[in-house]
Symmetry: D2
């Protein structure tokens, strides 16, 4: 027992708990769980304490290990069962792409708040069903476009909203990775037939699309290419596999407010690890960003106080007066990729606890739906060879 002088802390306090049920146990599940664990002491006092109630996955051995690893109170091997669990208040869908739709809709229908990772769905029709279910529910819904919660991205949005860029002319973005650049390397696992359409938009491009909408607004038209450079790859067992996805996609976009831009995504960009770059040019200023240096925002402003000192400024977005930054570390003590997820999930929890909208700074199922519409427009334009108008169903 503790020595004299030790004052035990009463763990019960005014902070409400919020029970989380998480579907999935891989990469994204790790990022989300990490967020739930950090929120209560980083955003202090927290809006709620996320309680790791249950985690769910198909393979019992792995889900049980994940539960132990992350400290979930228990686990499910059936998502239907977890959705039926009345103790789950926030349903977090970090499962495989083709598992985003039905569990999320079911969770909404049982009155849970839902966050679903991107891509929200592999077809616009599915995404619309999710959006409609979210609209019918009284709960909060979020689509996991975490890059909105990178401080530099949010600062960009703020600067634009304050009019510092003037009229926006240009937006260009590339989300480049090199995950499958080598045509001769066998795939780590055979592509799941249900995910066979999961090309560059699903994997990477929807992030770029969301950033475009977040910063510049709605696309009006799309003209696109979606190349498949390697039509046949080798499976894990070295047998040939016919590839049905695109390796990359590039879209020309006219935005409703007048800007034009490009949105590119590639998984065969050799040498690029996780490079989501974008640049915006407006009549009064420009911005540039690279996710691999996510603590920095390049800012050019026409209105310079010293006439011979003009140029892009390398703004280290870690000052206490920068978005999300006061809760983290002192200026210059950089944050990493995972922190956008933490900022994002805290935004959701604050919206839940204070019944505020997730939009406009957080992405909702409406945003997830719109990204899916644009993904289909990209594929359709690539196939048809002409410019398409983007149309969202009301």
């Amino acid at each position: 027992m503790p020595s004299p002088g030790f004052v035990p802390v009463d763990a019960t306090d005014d902070v409400q708990a919020l029970n989380v049920g998480l579907l999935g146990y891989n990469f994204m599940a790790k990022a989300h769980t990490n967020a739930y664990k950090k929120i209560p002491y980083i955003f202090w006092p927290p809006a709620a304490r996320p309680r790791l109630h249950a985690i769910c996955g198909r393979t019992e051995e792995r889900v049980a290990e994940a539960a132990r690893r992350y400290g979930y109170a228990g686990y499910y091997t059936s998502w239907e069962a977890m959705v039926d669990d009345p103790d789950v208040e926030l349903f977090d869908n970090c499962s495989a792409h083709h598992m985003h739709v039905e569990p999320s809709i079911a969770a909404l229908r049982t009155g849970k708040h839902v966050i679903c990772e991107k891509p929200m769905a592999l077809t616009a029709a599915d995404a619309r069903r999710m959006r409609d279910a979210a609209r019918d529910a009284k709960t909060k819904h979020m689509c996991g476009f975490n890059y909105r919660f990178v401080p530099a991205v949010r600062l960009a949005r703020d600067l634009i909203e304050r009019g510092l860029l003037g009229d926006i002319y240009h937006f260009r973005t590339q989300y480049l990775q090199q995950s499958i650049h080598d045509p001769d390397r066998p795939m780590r696992k055979a592509p799941d037939p249900a995910s066979r359409l999961a090309g560059s938009q699903a994997i990477l491009g929807c992030h770029a699309v969301d950033i475009a909408r977040f910063l510049v607004g709605e696309p009006a038209t799309i003209s696109a290419l979606a190349p498949r450079f390697v039509p046949e790859r080798r499976g894990p067992d070295n047998t040939p596999v016919r590839i049905e996805w695109d390796d990359a996609s590039i879209a020309l976009v006219e935005f409703e407010q007048g800007a034009v831009g490009t949105i590119e995504a590639s998984r065969v960009a050799t040498g690029r690890a996780n490079s989501l770059k974008w640049e915006i040019n407006g009549s009064r200023g420009s911005l540039a960003f690279d996710l691999e240096r996510l603590n920095e925002l390049q800012v050019y402003l026409v209105d310079a106080p010293v006439a011979d000192v003009t140029g892009f400024q390398d703004v280290m977005v870690t000052q206490a007066n920068h978005p999300f930054s006061s809760v983290w570390w002192p200026h210059g003590h950089i944050i990493g990729w995972e922190h956008a997820h933490i900022n994002e999930l805290n935004h959701l929890i604050e919206a839940i606890m204070s019944d505020r909208d997730v939009a406009p700074y957080g992405a909702t199922f409406e945003d997830g739906y719109r990204a899916a519409v644009i993904a289909e427009a990209i594929a359709e334009s690539a196939l048809a060879g002409h410019r398409l108008h983007v149309r969202y169903d009301a």
Copy 2:
């Protein structure tokens, strides 16, 4: 008179002279004249000594001053007269865009070698007439795509030819300037009606198109946008001027050899001074370049000798074993924008004196023609809203 010991140098030597007649006296004329003056002592011994025979321009006072400034033996105020001058061996067309066609054709027909600045012509039809005239002539012809002669660009071509990048998947380029980003600033001079079509392709984009062709090969299809953000500007006298040019253009390109890419040009890219950037991703490596740091080439090669040391290399392309570099300064003593013109015109003069082809490393009137075809395809696709096949007349 010189003191004893002074040994006078006999200026006559084995090096042949080559008489130059230059049309124009502005920015490009300065860059070309500078090149002619430097070639004889930089490329030593030179293939020929360019002799500044005549310069030609409409305004006598200005052309006479240019002749004195640059050391031309004389001047003309009529290009027809200069074209008729049998002493002109190399006709250099640095005039306004709409003056590129007829003087160049006339010079070819009188048996002169011709270099014409970019854009070679404002229509593909005109460019084709120039190309055909060049084909009929026995002389050398060059289109002023000087960026082929930036050492880093030529090194890029070399690395690609040596197969170091493997199969090329992606090419993306932007040529960004901010010359007319401010819609409220009056134009310096009213646009010449004859140049009214001189939009982003003529001013900037054709350079990007030529780099694309130089590094990746022929485009097969084009899908494009060509926005006019500011439909009305103010003239030098503050009166409104209706704008007929585009402010920017962006083309999606499928290349014949399988790569896809974007070619963008903008004159309203606030904060970008003279930024011609491009990136190439291939199955075995990638390259990236920025004209504002033209001494550097970013190179990523998959085949790395040390497994945990991989990344883009910042290659300072000033080593003696780099293209064009041994004649200049020691490693790390950087060259500037003007040096590409010097390397280019020396290439032309060597081709003339040794009767070698200007192609493939130098751009010919065929290349100028093809850039014009692509410029029209961009405009046409932008108007029509669909993908077009690029077709060159034989």
Copy 3:
């Protein structure tokens, strides 16, 4: 209660707990606590589960809040009491600089493992007492030189140990911040008399010293300056305060193995947020690093496979084969400043649980002592105006 299908997880498993007692509740306490909370699910399976047993601070209101915030089981307001608590296995000293010595020694004497933040002590004599106490104890001891656990820094050490740089000629480092650059801004709090000597070495420079020793080895001689640019500042209440610390220090160093270098630290480097830069030049290669871009290591190797492709490589140190990186996120998903602490404390816990040495990759009290000796040598050389030999007591 959970719905059917819910499988509760037995929280008791084979992983041992390790009781932590933490002194301090500010910046560093947050960073360390964050580490203890993340280790069990990031380094999976963990060597031990750190148990947040007690936190200690003088101001009860604040320490009680910190305990609730971070989930400590209880708190102390007397460090002597916490040191006497037999349940504390690992004593973590994150208190103010002048509180590093006695609590750490007392904890060692009661048989606890101890980590003490930098600077270990404000005098070499005190640091020696700590080192000697650590030597006498059977427990593990660590000095919080967390930057050894930045993946790029450890990769640098690995590359050097593998001989890839050849003979090392040069090391130069600057740790630059701008915390007190403005002579007119009142201080946030009056300097504690006990910390009045805490100048640039204590605040920043000891990190630079430790990196120098970690990468290049022991300094043999020191020649230094330690300027006080602003001899009088204003206190929080605007009254003048005479300043006794240096604002910066710069040391010329000869290393025992033959290299020469500079070690600089400044708190008045306007515009530099948290910039710890260093560069190493050896006969076969060079390295360069900047803490503000801590995921990257610049590497130049003389032995290049392609003769015209040489240059500094921008290595993104996030690959699975990079130090500490396999446990974090996929390649290119960058980590932040806090992650070095997590890697560091996991190293300590692994050393404790498997009874391995903290050295050479982790810093011990011997390293903390040596940094203090060097700090005094810098101050002494600055005062004396001559070169000094660095001498450590055995």
Copy 4:
């Protein structure tokens, strides 16, 4: 003969000629001659037309070739003869280091203007003799510290003079090259006994010293190291050569006006081609520069118009309102290393023709002398192991 319409230009005009006699025909001679040839059409109308009267070198074959190559009217093989030539008005000393002293003094005594390349002399005593001779002469004198004429360097000086940096705290500079990094590579030529002292200061460091004085002012004290890493190298014939020079030098400097700094020069900095970097931190702002990207100046100003947009600006110093820039090319069309020499020699010629001082923006023999004093102080402090006061003879 030219066709009708050709108007011959009368080469005689109001611009005065200035006869140049150049000693040397290697690297620097090429850079200077290039400058003389460009000045008349770049700085238009020029203050004078440099006339390439004579070039001088020991080896007749080579000097004769240089004369033909560069267009000198004649040549000398004896510098004494050239100095006696009354037609030489400007004597330009680009010879080997140990040939700087006597010819320059002799030329001053015969009433010539003199520019002497750096290092002005290998000893302070010699440099003082040169300075005294220059003081006695009525003519202009310049020491070839060309980097003062890089636009970004001059802009830096302007910003400092305008007080934008506030009080200067820190200056740090490194001039790094890799010319002799490899201890196993034979030297290209055996070191000339007369140049045996030409170590890092003579080769590189004096440039860094001059930049320090140009931007921050006079050094008051010096503490230094001057290592010889490779005491024995191999000569061109593979025989061992004992090395008497230092491979590098590093000086700690206290400036008279209160700043402290480091001045480092190394010829064994593997991977650094021609990297002269410096950074200045003041109470209101900071500057950073790298000669390998000489068109850019990094500028941080505390007084920012937008509170959350602060950071180092990457100023491309090519705007028409930047120093020396209006005569060159449009904004963003970068200049190279050679242009600093052209700007420098034009400054000298303007000083000569209008009888203005070369100082303070150009370096004089006084500056050359002071650099030599500091070089000796560095060597002396390195040997003595203590801090020295810098003392210039009046």
